[in-house]
Amino acid sequence: MSGYNFAYLDEQTKRMIRRAILKAVAIPGYQVPFGSREMPLSYGWGTGGVQVTASVIGPEDVLKVIDQGADDTTNAVSIRQFFARTTGVKTTTRTDRATLIQTRHRIPETPLREGQIMVFQVPIPEPLRWLEPRESETRKIHALEEYGAMHVRLYEDITLHGRVATAYDYPVRVNGRYVMRPSPIPKFDNPKLDRNPALLLFGAGREKRIYAVPSWTSVKSLDFKDHPFTIEKWEQSCALCGAGDSFLDEVIVDDKGGRMFVCSDTDYCARRREPTR
């Protein structure tokens, strides 16, 4: 595409973002500020994720983009086409064939492998923002590891709801040090973060922060000893492929309230139905 640099961003910007990414990888879970650029999509639509992807993508990469687990929603399609046009790289819907995956709000069911990079779109990076509006103070809290208040939040949930009510964007402790928001993935996906072979990168465009979880890093969801972290379970299996171990979306099929449960991960579901394709 003429008039634009490879992957849209200029090289100086990519260098700046790569430096931020390196720092983030060196300090797992730590939020690194970066000079977020104006992108051809609005804040709140994945500008952070797009900038991270644009900075790490190379001509040999194979890109997959998903939104809530699906490759075919409007956002996923738009972003995938954006990169196709500005880089010319191959794109795919298959998790196992991708080298670079940008995601909004889900981690694929298919296990990732070493060498793959997953880029998460993050709305609010700061796990303590609910408690403390001042950035100066939250930075101090992270620096001094004063995470007692994070457990206050969980305590309140258990008190008010009998269990921790946070269903997504469930806070985690990375490498035993920093508390991090994993982006609004369902807590079902949290265990996948722990010791994942792939490199996990997190970009928040509006908030101008990048953080990372390097391969094989420990990621533990916060909980209490007598209220341990648990994930969602369904009575049903996927109506399309029969999977009993994937995250299911509830789909209303008619005006009478008829519903069915299907895998949120479209690629996983399709693979199970047609394994030879």
Binding site: G148, V152, T159, F224, K225, D226
Partner: protein, 263 residues
């Protein structure tokens, strides 16, 4: 005649504490020892410097000069005026506590009473919900807050109850040194008596040391073992509470004592 042997080390030894605001003096060359289990009252009128002393020791203001040696739980002595921020904040969460005049400044109004009391426990690593809740219930009982209010937000509490909640929140990690800034200042008179009684009891039962800033001599007499009388930033008289209030030596102290209205 042999003097009584001083084999112990004071919990806090303050020397030459000075705070200047440019030309103005907050406090000047203040020194005292605070021993374990002792309550020291800092009394004086507005502008006497008593609050400057407290804020410097509690780490909220940077002192201009002086030192304050604190005898830590592990037996080491550290100058708290020169402590870097990280260890100072850690001490402030564990071994010290600050009871503010306005309890809203010392509480999280957006979380339940139980969470307020349990927070310091969680901050020092307690990870068992059941235990945290049990301790919170126990402390609510100790400060005479009905236990069925544990899940209520503090916004629904009266002033006296808020102050008692703040005290519970502060004491849950059993700090050895408590700073109190006009603890009954924001309360109705009828409520003050109850709070003072509670504080007296807790100080005695828990063997706390405390530095209490107050302009109210009745509060000082009730709570403090010893007094420092301050005027214009300086300590002008000190001694046993009953001695300073019953036989004041300094003209200003005499004025202060004789000015107290008797209903």
């Amino acid at each position: 005649m042999t003097p009584m042997p001083m084999t112990q080390v004071p919990l806090l030894a303050v020397r030459g504490l000075t705070k200047r605001y440019g030309e103005r003096v907050g406090c000047l060359d203040v020194g005292f020892d605070l021993w374990s289990g002792e309550v020291l009252g800092l009394v004086g009128e507005s502008g006497s410097g008593k609050t400057s002393v407290l804020q410097c020791l509690a780490g909220r203001l940077e002192a201009t000069a002086g030192c304050a040696d604190f005898f830590q739980r592990d037996g080491t002595i550290v100058d708290i005026l020169r402590l870097p921020e990280a260890p100072r904040r850690r001490l402030a969460r564990t071994d010290w506590a600050m009871v503010q005049q306005n309890p809203r400044d010392g509480l999280r109004m957006g979380v339940t009473a139980g969470a307020n009391v349990g927070e310091r426990l969680m901050a020092v690593g307690e990870r068992h919900y059941g235990r945290i809740r049990r301790e919170a219930l126990d402390w609510l009982g100790q400060v005479e807050i009905p236990q069925d209010r544990i899940d209520d937000l503090p916004g629904t509490f009266s002033g006296g109850m808020l102050q008692r909640l703040q005290i519970a929140r502060c004491l849950v990690t059993r700090p050895r040194l408590v700073f109190m800034d006009e603890p009954t200042g924001a309360l109705d008179v009828s409520v003050q008596a109850r709070l003072l009684d509670l504080l007296r009891g807790l100080v005695a039962d828990l063997g706390l040391s405390a530095i209490v800033v107050t302009h109210d001599l009745a509060v000082a007499r009730l709570l403090a073992h010893r007094l420092l009388v301050m005027k214009d930033g300086e300590v002008i008289e000190s001694g046993l509470t009953d001695q300073v209030l019953d036989d004041p030596q300094h003209p200003y102290t005499q004025l202060l004592v004789s000015s107290v209205l008797q209903p």
